[in-house]
Amino acid sequence: MLGFILRRAAITLPTFLALMFITFMLIRLVPGDPIEVRRGERGISPERLEMLRHEMGLDQPVWRQFLDYVWNILHGDFGTSIISHEKVVTEFLTLFPATIELSLAAMLLAVVLGIPAGVIAAVRRGTPYDQALMGAALTGYSMPIFWWGLLLIMFFSGYLGWTPVSGRIDLIKYYFEPVTGFMLIDSLLSDQEGAFLDALRHLILPAIVLGTIPLAVIARMTRSSMLEVLEEDYVRTARAKGLSPFRVIGIHALRNALIPVVTTIGLQITTLMAGAVLTETIFSWPGVGNWLIESISRRDYPALQGGILLISGIVIFLNLLIDMLYSIINPRIRHAR
């Protein structure tokens, strides 16, 4: 077991190293003067240029610079934003809870709706229910989510006026210091009347938008996995024993059908991070995706460099974690490798 974990962790090491190399190269490859790109200063005098070059280590050989870069990262220094002059890690950590909150809400929605939809489609295979659900799933799977977000805003915020258009909470009405960084929890802790509901109303549309593709994927996966399991002998035995259909499907079939579905849910983490960039942009959600896009338009390359490294690093780490969890749940994976 420990051997498997160590081996699995060891093969991600080169990936991390390569990732650092790519982000290291990023700031060297962007067009423009290297000092200007990194400091945001223009019209620098030759003396100051020389000083800055020395200060930033640009007069060192490239391999030396890379080692320094890796060294700094290992010490938690991911660079400094040239716009806000704050540490990239600090900015990232302030914004990251918003992205996590949004992603968790989206995933919750996808699982809670996706699994029942898949089960119903499988049990009622070939009926109009099945066709309608799978048609919806195909549409969801093919959805340009940025457009879907705009449509939802158009209808629910514009036409019906039910939900706010952007942000995480109405900042004019409610203000409290972040405690956990999760708006739903913080609003409850703040004891301000209506704050929680307001935060919830801000969260619902972005969560639907971000959850749409995972929802469709989970529904499709659940359906095909259920169909396979329903053919199995133990399901027939359970039926023959005279168990209620609900028990047969809900307990005997679903529990076995869920194994590949759980794998699929794990695989959605990368999709969620990519989707968060678009979703946060549409809803001006103050998370790391929105921040990444703003960094590009502000030409804040150090922030972009640090941000991409942090996001990808976290995704790699989470995937590693999930792999290990699987190996605990399902010993076959462990031995197959």
Partner: protein, 300 residues
Amino acid sequence: MPADVALSPPRQAQPGPLLEFWRSFRENRGAVIGLVIVIVICLVALFAPLLAPHSPIEQFRGFAKLPPAWVEGGDPRFLLGTDPLGRDMLSRILYGARISLFIGLSVMVVSAVVGVALGLAAAAFGGIVDVVILRIMDLIVAIPSLVLAILIIAVIGPNLTNTIVAVTIVYLPRYVRLIRASALSELSRDYVTAARVAGVGKLRLMLATVLPNCLAPLIVQAALGVSDAILEAAGLGFLGLGAQPPTPEWGAMLADSREFILAAPWIVTFPGLAILITVVSINLFGDGLRDALDPRLKRS
């Protein structure tokens, strides 16, 4: 032997592989509908200059933000209305089909060719070549697709060609892994060993003996890859990192539409609808292809 020939039952017309495929494919009604819509979209893209009533970039002064023709205040000359700069929405959407299909097909062709080359190389040489190729693919997969595309665009700059480059790199691992896996399983078969014993060279062995037997999953992946590429490119366009104005790219058309959501909903609605219809029909077609070509993957 003539007696044997006479005894054998009258030869039934063996259906060719293509006909057999078509028979299996047409049973899936959704797939056929998808195929028909895909063909229509291809025709629209091909004949956009003949079909479009106006130039996609011509700005009609005094006609900005006209609603569709069937809404009050609409103008029959602008069937789907006009955008904030007075350009004809219908013409822009028709021309947009060219751009989206061009992106989708270019990404598919380039990533399939490069993917096949790398996948076969990894399978054929093994060892260090295999490890290096796989590790690079792992790295690409580890970075969320859009974030990686943004990183690439940040370096090479936003435009149509670079969109294709970025999206191709993002989708490359699928092809490489697919081809490598199916080539490896084919390599252990007897017919490959036979070819090897017969003295077939490595290059010929991989391309002429192994590759044709990996084609079915590759074709399915390629078809579904087109729709993914279109979506990804539209997302980049929406973020302002894809095709640049005044290119009538569907995603880019949505980029500046946010402020007009309430005043001019058609500016938001039609380009997105065009993306959705295209992607849904390609996916329908692709699902049908998979069921017909690769029974093992059948979603029943």
